[in-house]
C-alpha cells in the first residue's frame, strides 16, 4: 500500500532535509549520551572518592577518641556548608548526630555503598517542604562501628543531577535547533526549489498552451536552474523561430503560390472556352508548362531553405576554395552581365580554403550575383558588379558582392532576406523572391552571416564565413 505523500515531501530538497535531520539527530543523540554518561560517571566516582576520604577521616576520629570524638567531629562537619551528609545512628535507627533529619527507610540496614540514590531530608530545609516528602537525593557509605553504632557518610546528588539536567536540556535544545534547521533548509532550499520548478512548470504549461513567446524565468543567480532555464529558452527561441518560419512560409505559400496557381487554372479554363484553334491551345499549354516550372522552382527553393534551416551536418561539407567558387560563378554570369551591359568583375587573390558545401555556396553566390546584375542593369551610366573575397581579421572570409544599382532602402534591408519578400520596384523582375532568403539560409547553415549594407549608390551583400568554418591548417 502506498501512502499519499504531500507534494512538498516529494521534492528532493524536502527528502534531503529529512534525511539530514535524521542523520544529525542520530549523531547528536550518540554524542550527548556519550558525554552525559561520561560526565555522570566522572562525577559519581568523584563523589565516591570524597565520601570514602570523609569516612576515613571520621574513622580516624573514632579511633582516636571513641564515640564522643566522632560525634563531635560529625557535629563540626555538619555545621559546615556543603553537599556532604553525616549521620550517626543507634542500631535501632535513632539518629544521634549529623545533618540528616530523616531518610528513606531501609538505608541504614545496608552495609557499604548504597546501591542506588536514596531520598533524605536535611536539617535547615525550608519548613514549608513537608517532612513526608524528602526533597534531596544522595548516595552514601554506611559503616558499622564496633559498638554497633551506624555511621553514614554521603554526598548529595544535586550536582550530577544538575549535570544530567543540563545534558538533557541541551539534548532537547539540540533537537529543537536541528528541527528548526531542517525546517529552515526545507524552507529555503525546498520551497525555493519547488517554487522555481513550479514557475518553470507554469511557464512551460503556458508555452505548451500555445504561447510560444513565453520564456522560462531566469533569476540571474547563475545557478543550475538558471542554466537549465537559459538552455531551454534558447531551445524555445529556436523552436519559435522555426515555427514562425513555418507559419510565414505557409502564409506566403497561400499568398504567393495561390496567385500563379489561380493564373494557371484561369489560363487553362480560358483556353478551353476560347476558339478550338490548335495554335491557341498550344500557346496556352506552353504558358501553363512554364508557369508550373516556376512553381516547381519556388517549391524547390522553399524545400531547400527548410532543409538548410533544419541544421548543419559536417558530412555535407568538404574543404573548398572560395576563390574557385567566385571564379566559377563570375564566369557563369559574365556573358549575361555583358548582354545586359553590366561590368562583372572578380577581385580575388590567392586561395581561400574553407570547410563548406561547394554547391550551396555557389548557389547562394549566384543568387546574389544574379540579383546584383538584374537590378543594376540599366541603372546609371556604368553599371558594375564587383565580387570580392577578402580575409577578415581576426578570422574568416568576407565574400562581398557590390553593385552600383538602385540599392535597397535602409528600412527594407532587414526584410529583403525574408522569404518571398520582394520590394515593390522588383515586382517587374522575374524571380521567386527566395534568392536572398536561400543565400541567408546557406550562410546560416555554414554558421556564417549574410549582411546587407548601402553603398550610395548601390548595395553591398556580404557573405561572412566565420573562422570556425575554415579548414584546419594542418588538415
Amino acid at each position: 500500500m502506498r501512502l499519499a505523500v504531500p507534494a512538498i515531501m516529494k521534492t528532493t530538497a524536502a527528502r534531503l532535509s529529512a534525511l539530514f535531520l535524521i542523520l544529525f539527530a542520530l549523531c547528536a543523540t550518540v554524542l550527548v549520551f556519550y558525554m552525559s554518561s561520561l560526565s555522570v560517571r566522572m562525577l559519581t566516582s568523584q563523589t565516591q572518592e570524597t565520601v570514602a576520604a570523609e569516612a576515613q577521616s571520621l574513622a580516624r576520629a573514632y579511633q582516636r577518641g571513641g564515640l564522643p570524638s566522632l560525634v563531635r567531629f560529625v557535629g563540626t562537619r555538619s555545621r559546615q556548608p556543603g553537599a556532604n551528609l553525616y549521620l550517626i545512628a543507634e542500631p535501632s535507627g535513632r539518629i544521634l548526630a549529623g545533618n540528616v533529619e530523616s531518610l528513606e527507610p531501609g538505608v541504614l540496614e545496608i552495609d557499604g555503598w548504597t546501591s542506588r540514590p536514596f531520598a533524605y531530608r536535611r536539617y535547615g530545609d525550608a519548613s514549608g517542604e513537608t517532612a513526608s516528602a524528602p526533597s534531596h537525593r544522595a548516595v552514601a557509605l554506611v559503616l558499622r562501628l564496633p559498638n554497633q553504632m551506624i555511621l553514614l557518610v554521603g554526598r548529595d546528588l544535586g550536582e550530577p543531577e544538575i549535570v544530567r539536567d543540563i545534558v538533557n536540556r541541551s539534548l532537547i535544545l539540540a533537537f529543537g535547533m536541528m528541527g528548526v534547521g531542517a525546517l529552515l533548509i526545507w524552507l529555503f532550499v525546498g520551497r525555493r526549489a519547488l517554487k522555481r520548478i513550479d514557475s518553470v512548470s507554469e511557464a512551460s504549461q503556458r508555452i505548451m498552451g500555445g504561447d510560444l513567446t513565453g520564456r522560462l524565468p531566469v533569476t540571474g543567480a547563475g545557478d543550475e536552474f538558471d542554466r537549465l532555464s537559459e538552455n531551454l529558452n534558447v531551445m524555445l527561441t529556436r523552436i519559435a523561430k522555426l515555427n514562425d518560419g513555418l507559419k510565414q512560409v505557409s502564409d506566403n505559400i497561400a499568398h504567393d503560390l495561390k496567385t500563379p496557381l489561380t493564373r494557371l487554372r484561369n489560363r487553362a479554363e480560358a483556353a478551353l472556352a476560347s476558339a478550338d484553334d490548335p495554335a491557341t491551345y498550344r500557346a496556352a499549354l506552353e504558358a501553363a508548362i512554364s508557369e508550373s516550372d516556376q512553381l516547381i522552382r519556388t517549391f524547390n527553393a522553399i524545400l531547400m531553405i527548410s532543409r538548410l534551416e533544419a541544421g548543419y551536418s559536417a558530412e555535407q561539407t568538404s574543404s573548398v576554395d572560395l576563390a574557385a567558387i567566385v571564379a566559377g560563378v563570375v564566369e557563369l554570369y559574365e556573358p549575361v552581365a555583358e548582354e545586359l551591359g553590366v561590368v562583372l568583375e572578380a577581385a580575388v587573390e590567392g586561395e581561400a580554403q574553407v570547410s563548406a558545401n561547394r554547391e550551396l555556396v555557389a548557389q547562394a553566390l549566384s543568387n546574389i550575383v544574379d540579383n546584383a546584375i538584374k537590378y543594376s542593369a540599366g541603372h546609371g551610366d556604368a553599371p558594375r558588379v564587383v565580387v570580392s573575397l577578402t580575409r577578415r581579421s581576426p578570422g574568416g572570409y568576407l565574400l562581398e558582392v557590390a553593385d552600383n544599382g538602385p540599392g535597397v532602402p535602409d528600412d527594407d534591408r532587414e526584410r529583403v532576406t525574408e522569404r518571398f519578400v520582394r520590394l515593390e520596384q522588383s515586382r517587374t523582375q522575374p524571380g521567386s523572391g527566395l534568392g536572398l532568403s536561400l543565400a541567408k539560409a546557406v550562410m546560416e547553415f555554414h554558421r556564417g552571416r549574410l549582411e546587407l549594407s548601402g553603398r550610395n549608390p548601390g548595395l553591398s551583400v556580404q557573405m561572412i564565413f566565420p573562422e570556425d568554418s575554415l579548414k584546419d591548417e594542418q588538415g
Binding site: N300, Y333, V336
Partner: protein, 224 residues
C-alpha cells in the same frame, strides 16, 4: 531502344511508358523493386529508369544488386529527394544519372537518350567531328571548314560536351551539370547566353547552322 521503368506510381509509370513509346522507344514498366530487379537481370534493356523509393526493394538496392551481378545497363535514378547528398548516394550506388521529381519529360527523355548511347567509343576518340566542325581534344583546337576558331576554356568544354552528344538533345540542366558541375537552378538563363556566344563563334561567317535550339527541351548539335 528498350527501356525499363521501375516505378510504383501507376500513373507516372503509364505516362512514361506512353511518352517514351511516342518518342520511338519500347518501354516496359515494373511496379516494384523485386519485379524490376528480375526483369533488369535479363540484361536485355538499353536503359533503366529507377525510382528511388519502391515497394519490396528500394531503388538503390536494385541498382547495387544489378551491378553486383555484372549488369552494366545505364541507370537513370528518379527521386523525390533532391539534396546534393542524395544525388551523391544515388550515383555512388551505381546510378549513372540522377533526376529529381518533378521533372520535365523532355529532360528525362534527353537524359535517357544520352545514357543509351553512352558508349566507351567517344571516350577514346581524340577528335570529334560534326559536319565540317572539328574538335581536337588533345590539342584543344576547334576548326570549322579547316579554319581555326578561338574559344574560351569554358566554351571549349561546352562545345566538347555538345559534340560528344551530337545528334542528341542536350538540356540546359545537363549542360550546367556536366560543363559547370553545378546542380542548382540558376534564376536567369545563363546557359542560353553561353550557348548563344558559342553559337556566334562557330556559326558566324558560315552559312549552315550546326547548333540548333530544340524548343522546350534544349540544344542539339547536328550537321545540316
Amino acid at each position: 531502344m528498350k527501356i525499363l521503368v521501375i516505378e510504383d506510381d501507376r500513373e507516372a509509370a503509364d505516362y512514361l511508358e506512353k511518352a517514351l513509346g511516342e518518342a520511338g522507344h519500347n518501354a516496359h514498366v515494373a511496379g516494384d523493386g523485386e519485379t524490376g530487379f528480375m526483369l533488369a537481370s535479363s540484361g536485355e534493356y538499353d536503359v533503366l529508369v529507377v525510382d528511388r523509393m519502391l515497394p519490396k526493394r528500394d531503388g538503390l538496392s536494385v541498382i547495387a544488386g544489378l551491378r553486383a551481378r555484372g549488369i552494366e545497363t545505364p541507370v537513370l535514378i528518379l527521386s523525390a529527394l533532391g539534396e546534393v547528398d542524395d544525388r551523391v548516394t544515388g550515383l555512388r550506388a551505381g546510378g549513372d544519372d540522377y533526376l529529381t521529381k518533378p521533372y520535365a519529360f523532355s529532360e528525362l527523355l534527353a537524359r535517357v537518350e544520352v545514357l543509351s548511347r553512352r558508349s566507351g567509343a567517344k571516350d577514346i576518340e581524340t577528335v570529334y567531328r560534326v559536319g565540317d566542325l572539328e574538335l581536337d581534344r588533345l590539342s584543344h583546337t576547334v576548326k570549322r571548314a579547316g579554319k581555326e576558331i578561338i574559344l574560351q576554356p569554358r566554351e571549349f568544354r561546352l562545345l566538347e560536351y555538345l559534340m560528344r552528344h551530337a545528334g542528341q538533345v542536350v538540356t540546359r540542366t545537363m549542360l550546367l551539370e556536366n560543363v559547370w558541375d553545378y546542380h542548382f537552378d540558376p534564376q536567369t538563363n545563363v546557359i542560353d547566353v553561353h550557348v548563344s556566344r558559342l553559337r556566334s563563334k562557330i556559326e558566324k561567317e558560315f552559312d549552315t547552322p550546326v547548333l540548333h535550339t530544340i524548343r522546350g527541351a534544349g540544344y542539339m548539335l547536328k550537321a545540316a
